[in-house]
Symmetry: C2
DNA sequence: TCACCTCTCTACAGCTCGTAGTACTACTAC
DNA sequence: GTAGTAGTACTACGAGCTGTAGAGAGGTGA
């Protein structure tokens, strides 16, 4: 998996926040601060779908884009990828566990407990 | 934090595997498959220390390089950074917990238990 | 028919990374 | 003391990625 650029991530964030597929125009309208040319948005959407981050379906002449995976899945995959980098996964995991905040440790613990019960 | 290129990571791996600081020449000797010019290695070491991944100290006229942080710390930081990307950390953590293998879940559980006990 | 929307293709500049040459300085062995 | 070696700093260049957008073509509604 590759990382994303800033604009790419802005656009992914918009699409992740939505629960229905959007057209390039709609995405463009939701990017506020920047005044981007419509083709810019289209180009980035196109690149994102080429990279597999977005799926797109026809809607008349336009494409409608939606995330290929949830943000959580993406984040979890990034985390696993980072973990794959190390020779010593245990040490990295231990360190990670120590670094998350208390409430997050709680979440992890819960998820792990549920795992165990299955 | 930024990602690392391929050669950069190869070099970091070499230095992480070492327990004493190395000179550019020594690092170069440890990169086998590729036949790199000495200056190439020096350039990359220089860039890595600029980026904060390496510390360097003088040894005569040469520099000796060593990782600024352990690989585990680096990996854990990457994981936290990924986690920061999401709006819903809990969901991402839960998904992550479900994705790690059984033995790793065990490690995590243990680390979290130790945390709790402190 | 004209204005507009949307698409695809192409382009370009800035940055990062792999790769290395050049020019200079200091040590080492004859 | 001179030639080779090792090391540094500086500079460079091409490839690939990303942000940005224009040009051109083909529909579509007024």
């Amino acid at each position: 998996m590759k990382g994303l650029g800033e604009l790419e991530r802005t656009i992914m964030d918009i699409l992740w926040a939505q629960n229905s597929p959007l057209t390039a125009r709609e995405v463009g309208r939701l990017i506020e601060d920047r005044d981007l040319a419509p083709t810019t948005v289209m180009t980035v959407l196109d690149r994102l779908s080429r990279k597999g981050f977005l799926d797109r379906t026809r809607d008349g002449r336009a494409w409608r884009y939606q995330p290929a995976a949830s943000r959580d899945a993406y984040v979890a995959e990034l985390m696993l990828e980072a973990l794959d980098m190390t020779g010593d996964r245990d040490a990295a995991l231990t360190r990670f566990a120590r670094a998350v905040s208390g409430s997050e440790a709680e979440i992890l613990r819960k998820a792990l407990t549920e795992l165990e019960e299955q």
